[in-house]
């Protein structure tokens, strides 16, 4: 088949502060045959999005395409003027952005945005465009396809917006579709639905596509060929199977290795035997402005151990960390630290209590004051908690930097001069400055590249050995949690649906939600998405389903594939303990869950 896209010698430069032009993409060339999906994969700063945007003749401000050729169909993109580019964009080549929530205009209804490209390029009448949009909504499995277009972007969920954006990209029947990290901002359980929808429409339409991602496992499902990028240069290019099974380049091998989280050392046996837990949460209920976000939460963190808290966005996991840190007072229940109850709000806690529990936020960019040097950022908690000043303080800062494996001369720099991984280390060093007993890690690796994130996980494990500190590790990523935590709590919609030790959570039976979480994580092999199969229709619920909102009922009932009519929507679910010590909040006994999950897996593979 003829190549639809041909890129050669592409070079994109950016003007730096000194006014010099630095190449961020250098000598990149590839071609895409008609009807194939090519993946551009790499870490942040690898130039993958820059290349994808260059295919539309577009660069972000400060950047410039300084050389090479890009041919799409029989059009030489780089020879077009501004007006001609407008004619190509959104018509022959379309784009699906990473964050649909930010890429939709908040002031315009969804339908008007979806059909805008078709009307802009004069391809069809408004009525025809709307009809086509509704058909696309239907084939992308969007709920209420006839009416969803009348809503505004803030009225639909993130996963739905991402699919609506796909409808917007496909309405003009483009020759080339660019997917720019389209599922990165989504929960895994949503991601799998969106990937299915994308795959289906790509197949139906025989579309040629570029799929930009940092996630090898996602790319394995979507792409025919993969281009591996690093620092704006191509490291390796080949068919998907070859890249996954026999990566030739050393950098690709590093990426592959980081994609599968390595098990970190588990709890030292001596510590596990310690009698009283370091932190205990009992019957906790908390929320914002009267609506409870967390309900009936009980958990304990043993001295020196790591507790993993996992759940999707909105499950209340960050709220839990905030309650323990004293940022939100609980509405009911209590938090015990070393057996002593902690006051609900920060102001009522003693300085010593504050010192012993530290929180590390997800985004080091917003957590570190951009106008203070690293030394001053670290000096503040040292002075506040330990009363260190002058030379003693400087010495301690050097020690802290050494502890997080950073050179001492970094102390004079500003956060903006550091890389993402370095900033997260400073964020961690700031917490360590207080010499805490417990560190609450809220999604500390989510904003980082896989390789950099893996190094942070290693650091956390080493610090635990050296300092005997305990962690509460909050994440949406079950494979990370299973790799670093001793005990795991699964939250869904503010309730603890399952909890148990890491070993116990390695094999079924699982709570239906945990099972969904685990089975939604893409595996690093081709054909996984097909094997998981289509989303199964949920069991039909009877009239009692009207009571779904009753707070005492299982919160997962609306999405549960194992729900029982007349039980799950009528009676509160019991919490039962399994032989391996796990707790599950479900009507199904363990053996039924085990049978069911084994059956589903068999159906999927067979």
């Amino acid at each position: 088949m003829a190549d639809l896209v041909h890129v050669s010698g592409l070079r994109v430069v950016v003007r730096n502060d000194g006014g010099e032009e630095v190449a961020i993409v250098a000598d990149v060339g590839f071609s895409i045959p008609q009807g194939e999906v090519l993946a551009l994969i790499g870490e942040s700063g690898s130039g993958k999005t820059t290349i994808a945007l260059a295919l539309m003749g577009y660069t972000r401000s400060g950047c410039r395409i300084s050389g090479g050729t890009i041919r799409v169909g029989d059009v030489d993109i780089l020879s077009l003027d501004a007006t001609q580019l407008c004619g190509i964009r959104g018509d022959k080549i379309t784009y699906i952005a990473q964050s649909a929530a930010a890429a939709f205009n908040p002031a315009i209804t969804i339908m008007n945005q979806v059909i805008e490209p078709a009307l802009l390029h004069g391809l069809m009448t408004r009525a025809a465009a709307e009809e086509k949009a509704v058909a696309l909504f239907r084939s992308l499995s969007l709920p209420d396809p006839d009416n969803i277009g009348r809503r505004y972007p803030h009225q639909v969920s993130g996963g739905q917006l991402q699919r609506l954006m796909a409808a917007m990209a496909l309405i003009t029947d483009p020759a080339l579709v660019i997917f720019d990290e389209p599922t990165t901002a989504l929960d895994v359980t949503t991601q799998i639905d969106v990937l299915r929808a994308f795959k289906k429409v790509i197949k139906e339409r025989g579309a040629t596509a570029v799929y930009v991602s940092h996630d090898l496992a996602v790319v394995a499902q979507m792409a025919d060929r993969i281009v591996v990028l690093n620092h704006g240069e191509i490291r390796e290019c080949g068919v998907t199977g070859q890249i996954l099974d026999a990566p030739a380049d050393a950098y690709t091998q590093t990426l592959m290795a980081a994609a599968v989280p390595r098990l970190r050392q588990s709890l030292p046996a001596a510590l596990a035997e310690a009698p009283a837990p370091l932190l205990a949460v009992e019957g906790l209920m908390a929320g914002y402005g009267g609506t409870p976000v967390l309900d009936d939460i009980n958990l304990a963190i043993k001295r020196g151990s790591t507790l993993g808290v996992i759940g999707e966005s909105g499950s209340g996991k960050s709220t839990l960390a905030r309650v323990i840190a004293g940022l939100i007072a609980p509405a009911r229940g209590r938090v015990l630290f070393n057996g002593e109850p902690l006051a609900g709000s920060l102001t009522e806690r003693t300085r010593e209590q504050l010192r012993r529990i530290q929180i590390v936020f997800q985004n080091a960019d917003t957590a570190l004051n951009p106008s203070l040097s690293i030394a001053r950022i670290l000096a503040r908690p040292l002075a506040f908690y330990r009363g260190l000043r002058g030379d003693a303080c400087t010495r301690r800062i050097t020690e802290l930097l050494d502890l997080v494996r950073l050179p001492a001369d970094i102390a004079t720099r500003l956060p903006g001069e550091l890389s993402g991984g370095q900033k997260q280390r400073i964020n961690l060093a700031r917490a360590l400055a207080a010499e805490p007993d417990l560190i609450l890690c809220d999604e500390v690796t989510s904003a980082l590249d896989t390789v950099v994130g893996a190094a942070i996980l290693d650091l956390l494990a080493e610090l635990r050995q050296e300092l005997k500190v305990s962690y509460m590790f909050i994440s949406h990523d079950i494979s990370t949690v299973r790799a670093v935590c001793d005990e795991i709590v699964v939250l869904y919609s503010g309730r603890k649906v399952e909890s148990g030790s890491r070993q116990a959570l390695m094999a079924p039976p699982f709570h239906p939600y945990t099972d969904l979480l685990i089975s939604s994580v893409p595996e690093l092999r081709c054909g996984w998405l097909e094997q998981v199969g289509a989303a199964r229709p949920l069991p039909v619920m009877g009239a009692a389903g009207a009571a779904v909102d009753t707070p005492a009922l299982c919160s997962f009932v609306a999405r549960c594939p194992a729900r029982i009519d007349g039980v799950c929507n009528a009676i509160a679910a019991p919490r039962h303990t399994l032989a391996d010590g796990r707790e599950i909040l479900c009507h199904h006994p363990a053996n039924e869950l085990l049978e069911r999950e084994a059956r589903v897996r068999q159906e999927a593979t067979g």
């Binding site: 577009y58 190509i88 959104g90 930010a102 908040p106 002031a107 802009l120 390029h121 803030h154 009225q155």
Partner: protein
């Protein structure tokens, strides 16, 4: 839609409350000014007895809170009292001046708002470019030059040298269009000089803030041209801040027009208020202050309503 009605009702309630508080403050402050109308009317040679007698006659000897309630009642029923200086009803004095001020303010708004929006949108579209820099320099110098200088220069050029316009701007009762132009050209130009620059710069800032959002990049990648990107995508999201900037600038047109009114001898309400201050004419002064405040609050209220209505998050389901 209910959300919007509730929000707008709350804003109106807040504006009414503010107006009430302002009335108390205005009354209290004007009572603190030294001297009163009785002393002013009788002049230097008055004996304490005649002053006291006049005070009783004018009701100035009553306690403050009674005078306030009496005055507030009159204000609400459209009878803000008798001017102490020339014994005409305050309402009559205001009625002779307010419409003229409104015409001046309205004409200035009609000229300057579209012009400011155009300048703001243009410089936002070509931000960093030549057009932007030229407009930036132009608007900045407009802000920097004091209005009395602009007015004086205008009189010098158009009235004294060229003899195109009259240096005095007293509108006839039923002006023809040509007369209207001749009378209003210079005052409107002078006032526009000040507020166009402010509004244009605020429009530019609000638009640029939106143009840096991801959805604007998306619109570009959908093939929308620069004009469509700005007008269809960015502008609707910038209406809130722009409306507020316009309201603040326009509120200046009534009370702040004093210099322009004085230079062109235009019979507006700002000069009426200054006269009231010099003659210690408290009822007139208080009424003028209340009018300025009411106009200001209504403009801000309109801007808030624009911001509320243009925000789809508040439109409800």
């Amino acid at each position: 839609m209910n959300n919007v009605i509730v929000l707008v009702a709350k804003r109106i309630g807040a504006a009414a409350l503010t107006l009430l508080l302002v009335s108390a403050v205005v009354f209290a402050i004007t009572s603190l000014l030294p001297g009163d109308a009785a002393e002013e009317a009788l002049g230097q040679g008055a004996t304490p007895e005649t002053v006291a007698a006049l005070r009783t006659e004018l009701g100035l000897d009553q306690p403050g809170h009674l005078r306030y309630l009496h005055w507030l009642g009159g204000l609400v029923t459209g009878n803000p009292g008798q001017s102490l200086a020339n014994h005409l009803p305050v309402s009559e004095l205001v009625a002779s001046r307010l419409p003229k001020s409104m015409v001046l303010a309205g004409t200035t708004a009609a000229v300057s708002v579209p012009l400011a929006l155009l300048l703001g949108v243009l410089s936002a579209m070509f931000r960093g470019g030549k057009v932007d820099r030229v407009l930036n320099l132009f608007t900045l110098s407009m802000v920097a030059v004091p209005e009395f200088l602009v007015a004086t220069l205008a009189v010098l050029i158009f009235a004294v040298k060229l003899h195109w316009l009259s240096a005095l701007s007293s509108p006839p009762d039923n002006p023809t269009f040509a007369q209207f132009l001749r009378v209003y050209a210079m005052p409107v130009m002078t006032l526009s000089f000040v507020i166009v620059a402010q509004m244009a710069r605020m429009t530019r800032a609000a638009l640029i803030d939106q143009l840096e959002q991801t959805y604007v990049e998306m619109a570009v990648l959908k093939g929308a041209g620069p004009t469509r990107v700005v007008l269809r995508h960015a502008l609707p999201n910038a209406i809130g801040p722009i409306a507020n900037a316009i309201a603040l600038s326009l509120s200046y047109l009534l009370g702040g027009a004093i210099i322009v009114e004085t230079i062109f001898n235009y019979p507006g309400i700002a000069s009426l208020m200054v006269d009231a201050v010099t003659s210690r004419d408290m009822p007139l002064l208080q009424t003028c202050a209340m009018i300025f405040c009411a106009v200001y609050l209504s403009l801000v209220l309109i801007a808030d309503v624009c911001a509320i209505v243009s925000n789809p998050r508040l439109k409800g389901h």
